[in-house]
């Protein structure tokens, strides 16, 4: 009697699935933070059936449709990638998972009773091409997943890195750190103006120590921020421009005109206190 390859594979489903789950990376690790072993196995089973579906078409087709043509396969591959990423696993884990499955399939393929050297070579090639497509798609998903993570992180970094600090009564400190692009600049200005209004700040110290390069675009953003602060009645003291930065700014022809500047944050704070009629004195001098 003859047994077609799809029928054969169908009969081996349980065995292959068990082998895959057994051999897959992370099967033994205690990483089940978000998914129980049971849930993970169920997810793998669904993915297994999705991947196997085109192989079970009887009679076998020469061409196995890639993930581009199978929306549900795409979906489950992506779910697998997302799941793996959540475990903070290696970026290669989803790919390794697929390689394991391919190996399992190839092993079983060789055990097909009707297999001849010819059919085996042909089926191996067919299967390899199919898995190549799936792997490429998965790799792409992994990259997109990472990209998404990175942009989410930079968003939250942006949130974190624009604090407006209340230094003293009516004095605010805005430490600028990192890259000032249009988006950052707008956000910084928003935060600052809101804080000025809320605290009725008379002086704002803007510290540029953490800004690596001040070019015309950055300078323009800072100037606009200063202008806006002034409209709310807060004077601005600019601090932390490095000696090289100062030289570069003058060469560029950028003038901060009538903005009060101090070399260090310390000097800037002293100036801000002076502007509000206060000073820091040692306790002996205060006549106790």
């Amino acid at each position: 009697m003859s047994l077609s390859l799809p029928t054969f594979l169908q009969a081996r489903r349980e065995a292959m699935l068990a082998e895959w789950i057994e051999a897959s990376p992370g099967a033994d690790a205690e990483t089940s933070v978000s998914l129980s072993t049971e849930a993970r196995n169920r997810q793998m089973e669904i993915l297994f059936d999705e991947i196997m579906a085109p192989l079970l078409v009887d009679p076998p087709t020469d061409f196995l449709p890639g993930p581009e043509e199978q929306a549900s396969l795409q979906e489950h591959l992506q779910a697998m990638v997302t799941e793996q990423a959540r475990h903070a696993a290696n970026a290669t884990d989803p790919i390794a998972l697929l390689f394991v499955l391919r190996q399992v399939l190839l092993d079983h393929l060789a055990q097909w009773p009707q297999a001849s050297a010819e059919t085996l070579a042909e089926d191996t090639a067919r299967l390899t091409r199919y898995f190549d497509q799936i792997t490429l798609f998965t790799f792409d998903s992994v990259i997109r997943q990472r990209d998404r993570q990175i942009s989410e992180q930079s968003m939250s970094l942006m949130e974190l890195s624009t604090p407006v600090l209340r230094l003293w009564h009516q004095i605010l400190l805005l430490p600028l750190v990192g890259i000032i692009d249009t988006g950052r600049a707008r956000q910084v200005t928003d935060h600052l103006l809101e804080a000025i209004a809320r605290h009725e700040a008379r002086v704002t110290v803007i510290d540029l120590t953490g800004v690596p390069i001040i070019d015309t675009s950055v300078a323009q953003h800072i100037m606009k921020t200063i202008d806006a602060a002034r409209l709310l009645g807060s004077r601005v003291v600019l601090t932390g421009i490095s000696p090289e930065g100062a030289q570069t700014l003058t060469k560029l022809g950028i003038r901060f005109g009538d903005v009060t500047c101090r070399a260090s944050l310390r000097a800037g704070i002293a100036e801000a206190l002076l502007l509000t009629g206060k000073c820091i004195a040692s306790m002996e001098d205060s006549g106790r």
Partner: protein, 136 residues
């Protein structure tokens, strides 16, 4: 005379590339023994020019080369784009002129930051070559 440092070629397409390019320029000038002021000036110049690429042309290229010889240390940076070009170069090199409501200090300021400055522009091809040098 030691070997020259390998050239660095970068695609310019978004604001992260500005940071990469100016970092690379700073790094190369640092390796060649330029002082901190020199490094900052060069990095700022690269920042200006690559920002122009993104603002006016969208994408472009940046090439950072070590052209040092026995007599002097030289870093040359070529920045190109295939954007619409600069209509009036003489006007664009004047302080305070800007077509985009900027400060108008970018190009003339950049020229003052570096030792050599060449610009050529026509629709479809704008190229700026800047060089900093110091005696070996």
């Amino acid at each position: 005379m030691t070997e020259r440092l390998p050239s660095i070629e970068l695609a310019i397409g978004n604001s992260a590339d500005i940071v990469t390019a100016r970092h690379a320029a700073r790094e190369m000038s640092n390796q060649l023994g330029f002082g901190k002021a020199h490094q900052t000036r060069l990095a700022t110049a690269v920042s200006e020019l690559t920002r122009n690429v993104i603002q006016y042309a969208g994408t472009g290229h940046c090439m950072i080369e070590d052209l040092s010889d026995a007599r002097e240390r030289v870093v040359q940076i070529t920045i190109e784009d295939h954007g619409p070009g600069i209509a009036d170069l003489i006007l664009a090199m004047e302080d305070g002129f800007s077509t985009s409501n900027g400060l108008g200090a970018g190009l003339p300021g950049t020229r003052r930051l570096v030792d050599d400055f060449h610009i050529s522009s026509s629709p479809g091809m704008t190229r700026v070559i800047i060089t900093v040098r110091k005696p070996a």
